[in-house]
Amino acid sequence: MSLAQHLEGPARPATVRVGGPRGGPPLSTVLRRDNWRLQPVLVALGLLGFVAYVVWAANRNGAFYAGSVGRDYLSPLYSPCITHSCISSGYVWGGWSWWRVSPAWLILIFPGAFRATCYYYRKAYYRSFWLSPPACAVADAGSTGSGLRQHYSGETRFPLLWNNIHRYTWYFALIFAGILTWDAIAAFRFPNGIGLGVGTILFVLNAIFIWAYTLGCHAGRHLCGGNLKRLSQAPIRRWWWKNVSSQLNAHHQLYAWLSLFSIIVTDLYTWLVASGTIHDPRIF
């Protein structure tokens, strides 16, 4: 074969070898000197605490509406209240007599799915519970010879593949944010007209944090305008994408936690008022 033929012949598949021994100590040796364990531990405690509270609050199945003490406060964990037990609690909606357990379990499916598939919470639970990795430049649980996960498949297989439904959970989250906004407006309703109680402020703050978290969603940011090739051709979507979605998205982690706490505080306060444990001070 001539040199010319050799050079012009069909390209042979080439193999690029990229492996080999690494430098430095084994990856299981953590060289970081800062307190890298703190963040995953705090996140794990925060998430476990929230789940524990929600399980308790959902199983409570009572004192979730403060109508009997003259306040139109409905716990966010029980809103919209559409089962039979809502009527018995004094709430005007309801009627689903076939739903036997706490109405909270029916409602929590939707915001629960929204948060479980949220890009921020994914980071949080992958780090804190999967330990994959627990912190940056710290070996993940499958690589330290623990035998937990010798092959890592990320979000390519069931069940984690289902995190891709996040945008559908976002559609429902928008509806729920609207419902919680209605609850915040209803919290201004007092027996003799419009008023403002401490609970009203909590309901309004809760609605604000829920909206800030929901509108800053990564999937929502994509659907609002991020999916466009040319933002200049859709000025309204561009404005929303730039000034609302992206601004809130930059603080998505903050609003994820603030809204989590505001849900707990609002539910706890509603329970305390509805059960007669405390009196809701009226500001005007």
């Binding site: 492996g19 430095g24 940056c136 999916n227 982690q253």
Partner: protein, 300 residues
Amino acid sequence: MATLVQEAVPAGGAATSSPAETVTLRLWRGDARGGEFRDYTVENLGGEVVLDVVHRIQAEQAPDLAVRWNCKAGKCGSCSAEINGKPRLMCMTRMSSLDVSEPITVSPMRGNPIIRDLVTDVSYHFAVARRIPGFHPGPPEPDGTYRMSQVDVDRVQEFRKCIECFLCQNVCHVIRDHEDNKPAYAGPRFFVRLAELELHPLDTLDRRELAAKELGIGLCNITKCCTEVCPEDIHITDNAIIPMKERVVDARYDPIAWLGRKILRRPAPTPAAEVASLTPAGRSGEVISIEPRTPPGGPA
């Protein structure tokens, strides 16, 4: 939020009013056959970055020390290493930001194969680059030019800041801790490249199936370490990886998007193999293997 770029200096540490007279760097010395940390103590001149001190050690105590560097200004991306366990550029890490009361550990990037001392083999990243088709504009306008608005390229310009230091690739646990994923995974730097092309107003290729099937974007579990270590402060996860993941959802997992394409007679996502055939790696049939590379002089 905690960040890997800034390091806390303990109160009363040497970085405050009275700098220590000496500093000790604990450098990794070795090659593919093995290695160890060795301590080098030099005078603390103040006002230096880690690379300056490494250079003084090289000049005064260890002339055979291998270290890759170039611009000393955080723009060439050559001097990536792990300083006290955190992936950083040596030239952008001030000594005054570190606690010099104990030895400062400098190891090579532990996600790459070692060549010698602080120098690693970054071949993998260039092999991945050859698997991504470049810019493919459509036909020009009648006057022979291309036009685009600034607002359309704002997003893309953030990605142009990348200096290819590969710190994000190094810290990504998908390949750092699971090397078997290397043949089927691109890594954060190249998801940034994909986003740069996919979001470009003039580009016409559809790389979504390629991203899912050949470049493994589904393996990324968005733990944001790439963003934390980026010396150029590119929001890799929020602005590149997640937008690419959402585009992949458009192409593969969203039944409403699928129905919309059917009703509006929009083209289906371009098959990965078709897009891959446009790349240098696709044309030559290049594949990535995680077997060790044979050094020029034969096995080590």
